[in-house]
C-alpha cells in the first residue's frame, strides 16, 4: 500500500513519453505523406498517407545490398563483442598482478575518441589486407570497454563459491565462462548485443574510410549517397530514416527487459 497516489507520477511519465515520441511520430508521418517539415500550420494527422516513398528508397539506391552489408557487419560485431567482452570481463574478475593498473588503463582508454585512433586503425586494417571487406568493417568494433565492464559487473555478482566448485569439478577457465558464467549473465549478454548492434548499425565514419567499392557500403553511407542523388527528398529521406532505424528499434523492443536489467547491474556494481 503506497502512502500517496501514484497516478500523478504515471500521468507525468505518460506526458513525457508522448513528448519524447513526437519526433519519431513526425518522421513517420512525413515518410508517408511527404509534407514539408516547415509547412505552417503543421498538420498533426497525416493527410492521404501512402507507402510509395518507401518504394522509391528501395529502388533509387541498392537498399537490399546495403541492408545485407549492415546485417553482416552487425552480426560479426555482435558475435565478437559477446565472446571477447565476456572473456575480458571474466579476466577482470580474477586477481592478477597490476589489475588496478589494467582497469585504470581501460577506463582511461574510454576517454580517447575513435577519431583519434582512425589512422592507426586504418593502417592496421590495411596491413591485414582487410580493407573493403566485412571483417575490416567490423574489426575496430570487436570489443568495447563499456561492454567489458557490463560483463565484469555481471560476473562479479556470481558467488565465488560457485566458481570454486566448478574448478574443483575440473572445469577449465574457458568452460567456466561459457557453462557457468554466461547462463547467469543474460542481462549483460542482451546489453552487449543491443549496444554492439546499434553502434555498428549506425556507424558512419569507419565504413566511409574503409570501404572502396559501392557494393561494400552500409546503410549510413547509403543515406549519404541517397542525399547526394536526390534533391526533393522530404518524404523519401524520412522513409529511408525509418527503414534504417526499424531493425534497431525492433531489437530493442524484443530485448528491452534484459537490456535495462543489464545496464542497471552495470551501473550499480561497476
Amino acid at each position: 500500500m503506497h502512502r500517496y497516489p501514484r497516478w500523478p507520477i504515471h500521468l507525468a511519465l505518460i506526458g513525457v513519453s508522448f513528448l519524447m515520441l513526437i519526433p519519431f511520430y513526425w518522421v513517420l508521418k512525413t515518410s508517408v505523406t511527404g509534407e514539408n517539415i516547415f509547412a505552417y500550420p503543421p498538420s498533426i494527422l497525416p493527410k492521404s498517407p501512402h507507402p510509395f516513398y518507401y518504394v522509391d528508397v528501395w529502388y533509387y539506391i541498392p537498399f537490399a545490398r546495403y541492408f545485407l552489408n549492415s546485417i553482416i557487419v552487425s552480426l560479426l560485431t555482435v558475435a565478437a563483442n559477446v565472446v571477447f567482452n565476456a572473456m575480458a570481463g571474466y579476466a577482470l574478475t580474477r586477481d592478477f598482478p597490476a589489475k588496478s593498473f589494467v582497469l585504470l588503463l581501460f577506463l582511461s582508454c574510454m576517454m580517447v575518441p575513435f577519431q583519434a585512433t582512425i589512422i592507426p586503425a586504418y593502417l592496421i586494417t590495411g596491413r591485414l589486407g582487410l580493407l573493403d571487406s566485412y571483417l575490416g568493417l567490423a574489426l575496430p568494433q570487436f570489443s568495447t570497454i563499456v561492454c567489458i565492464f557490463v560483463f565484469k559487473a555481471s560476473f562479479d555478482a556470481v558467488p565465488r563459491s560457485l566458481i570454486d566448485a566448478a574448478r574443483i569439478d575440473g572445469l577449465s577457465e574457458w568452460r567456466i565462462i561459457w557453462q557457468i558464467m554466461m547462463p547467469l549473465a543474460k542481462g549483460a549478454i542482451a546489453t552487449n548485443v543491443i549496444l554492439a548492434f546499434i553502434w555498428s548499425w549506425n556507424n558512419f565514419l569507419w565504413p566511409l574510410i574503409v570501404t572502396r567499392s559501392a557494393d561494400m557500403q552500409t546503410l549510413p553511407l547509403g543515406l549519404a549517397r541517397f542525399l547526394s542523388y536526390q534533391e526533393d527528398t522530404t518524404g523519401a529521406l524520412y522513409a529511408f530514416c525509418i527503414m534504417v532505424l526499424a531493425p534497431g528499434i525492433v531489437l530493442f523492443l524484443l530485448a528491452q527487459n534484459e537490456f535495462i536489467r543489464g545496464l542497471a547491474s552495470g551501473a550499480t556494481k561497476g
Partner: protein, 134 residues
C-alpha cells in the same frame, strides 16, 4: 508458453520465444510478399480512354513515361482498341505517368501512377479523359 519453464521441453523453449517468433513471422511475411510480387510483375498496364462525354475513344495514342532518376522520359506507346482499351506490356518501373492523345479529339492530362513494386500489373480504375484544347 507455460509460466514454468521447467515443465517445457527444450525444443519448445528454443522455438516459442519472441526472439524466434518475431523474426520468423517477419520472414514469412517477406516470403509471402515476394511470392505475390513474382506473380504480379509482368509489367502490364491496362486502362481505358474516353472523351469528355465518357464515350470510348478508339485509335488514341497512349504514352507511358517512366521516372529516369529525376525526370520522366517516354518509355513506350500503345493504341486503344475499338472499346477504348489499351494494354502496355513492357513497363519496368514503379513510378510512371500516362497520357492519351488523339488528333481531332483532344489530349488527356498526364496522370501519375505509383506502383508498389517495379513492373507491377495494374488496371487503371479511372479512364484517361481526352479533352479538346478549345
Amino acid at each position: 508458453m507455460s509460466a514454468n519453464p521447467v515443465e517445457d521441453p527444450f525444443w519448445r523453449r528454443l522455438v516459442l520465444n519472441r526472439f524466434v517468433l518475431v523474426p520468423a513471422l517477419l520472414a514469412v511475411a517477406i516470403a509471402l510478399w515476394n511470392v505475390y510480387v513474382a506473380a504480379h510483375d509482368h509489367g502490364i498496364v491496362a486502362g481505358r480512354v474516353v472523351d469528355g462525354a465518357g464515350r470510348p475513344v478508339p485509335d488514341a495514342a497512349v504514352v507511358l513515361w517512366v521516372l529516369n532518376f529525376t525526370t520522366y522520359v517516354e518509355k513506350t506507346r500503345a493504341t486503344t482498341d475499338s472499346a477504348g482499351r489499351f494494354v502496355i506490356t513492357n513497363n519496368d518501373s514503379h513510378n510512371i505517368r500516362l497520357a492519351a492523345e488523339k488528333p481531332g479529339v483532344g489530349r488527356s492530362a498526364r496522370v501519375p501512377v505509383r506502383l508498389y513494386f517495379r513492373a507491377q500489373d495494374i488496371e487503371l480504375r479511372e479512364p484517361l479523359i481526352l479533352l479538346s484544347a478549345s
